[in-house]
Symmetry: C2
DNA sequence: GACGCGACGGCAATGGGTTGCCATGTATTG
DNA sequence: CAATACATGGCAACCCATTGCCGTCGCGTC
């Protein structure tokens, strides 16, 4: 007789194992979830039987009684933005290490979409990482009341946060531009709902003050390549020699938009971005940018979330801040002495070439 | 007396509602999940009471009795590859429309990681979309036996598949290169475990046969920019005038790698990629590439999966094939008549510049 | 008036672990 | 040797909604 396993249409439960191993179901349960609570020999026997029967613990059933789903939600502002790829990786890794599964939510830059998606998912997850949330502080706090929440790239009182050192990043960028002779920097703003956008601008104000460099802001624009291209248009109306863009995608849009209008980069304008996405190394000229430890952001935030889920207080004091560094490439150069065209640095204005073929 | 809701530490269940509305729990349950099965007035009353008490149906408990989690897994080969962004979006949208939640799994180009992640998650989801799986056919079939599975970018007998029209895409690329005077095309291969890699090569063989263009293959290389750069090295040893790369990332790596070695693109070599990722429009020169309807891929696969979950047979006949188109940019040009340097088209070989600053 | 049928709603089992509490037996301590 | 402590394992309640099955009741029909 080959094997007398039970009818294959029925899944194996702790009761089956219990019968077979001659113990009670609770012992089987404990053998897996709290081995210390049961005699090691018994535990071993149970494990053997379970193995033989092909028993797999049902996470769903476990969930019902423990009300832990062992899932966390990772909410990102825009999956199309490559910055998030590494963040997601970092988060996944940390989650997997902790035996948690990650549900990814793409908010598509919409605070409404973000909110409804979270509402829909919240009851199914043990905690939430909000990466670059576009929601209001109060909305976030409301969620934080119902589930452990860690916020990434944003500082909110009373909610645990992980941020990068924006002030320092801006400072380094400004110093760099200052050393190149620029005495005026234009900030190309991203979404108003974006916290980094605000702090970058404020940091720029401050750094400008200290280093005696004038600053101004244009925007807001959408934090995409297209947004950067639109910013390029506007920039033409109010030329600048040095630009700090909210992020790399906008910076790349600027490079393209300005390039199409015959503006030389970095000859006429120096451009600095944020994030150091892969494409920053691909554009011509290579983009000088403030790099953040993306992977570390994702994993730090997630690890912190997991400790909160396990019951830790979730220290809400100062946000955890991660270091940044300036990556210098070729989109920044010494300020053009602009011989004789002080008022309007960009005199030549060749017609834009036919628009590039476009995406689906 | 302000309000006499039950102690706030306890969540509201159907039993609470049942008590309050003076019906049995089953009626409450039915009032929500099968309104037709209960008197409309009763249903309305129940709904009112539920509303007043702030009752929220617990998806977890529902899951246990229906054994439907209303979640699906979306497995992608590499979240770092921008192609997947749109696929994920399409899938999310379709899933959300069907009231399903998506669990994203990044396989990091590893078939082992892919398998263990799926094993870990399988019992928690109602179905799986496998986008560009790196697993073996048999592994996939095994999963398909346990849960509904739809495979994207790959054709496997007996498993529902969604693919893009690779043969046609390759054909168009070859025609394009042929028209430009190229009579020899080098295919730069991606991962051997990648199904599109295989079919693209076979399609190239076929198209070359018909159009009397010689073809050869080098590789495999990793399907990344770095992989393309390595391919560039190897390509230097065996020069070509026209290259078809497995995907855009490799094509971009080729452009950079060859460029650093002084090879002119498209003057000396024409390059065609696959996928039409955003960066294809950003490199210099713009990359000619075969574009696929990524969003549609994701949503089609997911919608099909959902119908299977709802009990549909999951037609496993021919795979569903989505159209592609060739996007011509500036990385392809008429074949250089190569005056006097027929044997070795790339004579000038300037020293590579210092390596670009690198990522974190 | 007897019978049949459909609408409505309740009972109780089900899904599969988890865990507080108690009982038993063995080991340690004074 | 009595008394207390600890290690083990079982009992049964619990998590919360779903659903097959049955009873009741009102209405229409022959």
């Amino acid at each position: 007789m080959p094997d007398h396993t039970r009818p294959p249409d029925k899944r194996v439960t702790i009761y089956d194992v219990a019968n077979e191993a001659d113990v009670s179901p609770s012992t089987v349960s404990r053998a897996f979830s709290r081995p210390s609570r049961v005699n090691s020999e018994t535990a071993e026997r149970v494990r053997q039987v379970a193995e033989r029967l092909g028993y797999r613990t049902s996470p769903l059933a476990r969930t019902l009684s423990t009300s832990r789903t062992h899932m966390i939600a990772l909410v990102i502002a825009d999956i199309t933005n490559p910055v998030y790829a590494e963040i997601v990786r970092g988060a996944q890794e940390a989650a997997t290490d902790g035996e948690y599964t990650t549900v990814l939510i793409d908010a598509q830059e919409s605070d409404r979409l973000e909110r409804v998606a979270i509402e829909r998912t919240m009851s199914t997850v043990d905690g939430i990482v909000l990466a670059s949330s576009r929601m209001s502080d109060s909305a976030i706090r409301m969620f934080a009341k119902q589930r452990p929440v860690v916020v990434l790239n944003r500082a909110i009182a009373d909610v645990p946060c992980v941020v990068t050192d924006n002030p320092r990043g801006v400072r380094r960028a400004v110093e760099h531009l200052g050393e190149l002779g620029h005495d005026h920097i234009t900030y190309v703003a991203g979404p108003e709902a974006s916290w980094p956008n605000g702090i970058r601008w404020r940091s720029l104000l401050e750094a400008g003050m200290e280093l005696e460099i004038k600053v101004r802001q244009i925007g807001p624009f959408s934090p995409t390549i297209a947004g950067g291209e639109r910013a390029a248009e506007e920039l033409c109306a109010r030329p600048a020699t040095a630009v700090l863009a909210f992020n790399d995608q906008m910076a790349i849009g600027l490079i393209r938009g300005l390039g199409q209008r015959g503006v030389d980069i970095p000859g006429d304008v120096s451009i600095v971005g944020f994030d150091n996405i892969v494409a920053a190394d691909i554009v011509t000229p290579g983009l000088t940018t403030v790099a953040a430890p993306l992977y570390a952001e994702g994993s730090a935030a997630t690890r912190h979330l997991l400790t909160m889920i396990e019951g830790a207080p979730g220290h809400t004091g100062r946000p955890m801040v991660l270091p940044v560094r300036l990556v210098v490439r070729h989109s920044t150069a010494a300020r053009n002495p602009s011989p004789g065209r002080a008022r309007s640095p960009w005199v030549r204005q060749r017609p834009a070439p036919s628009p590039a073929p476009h995406l689906w």
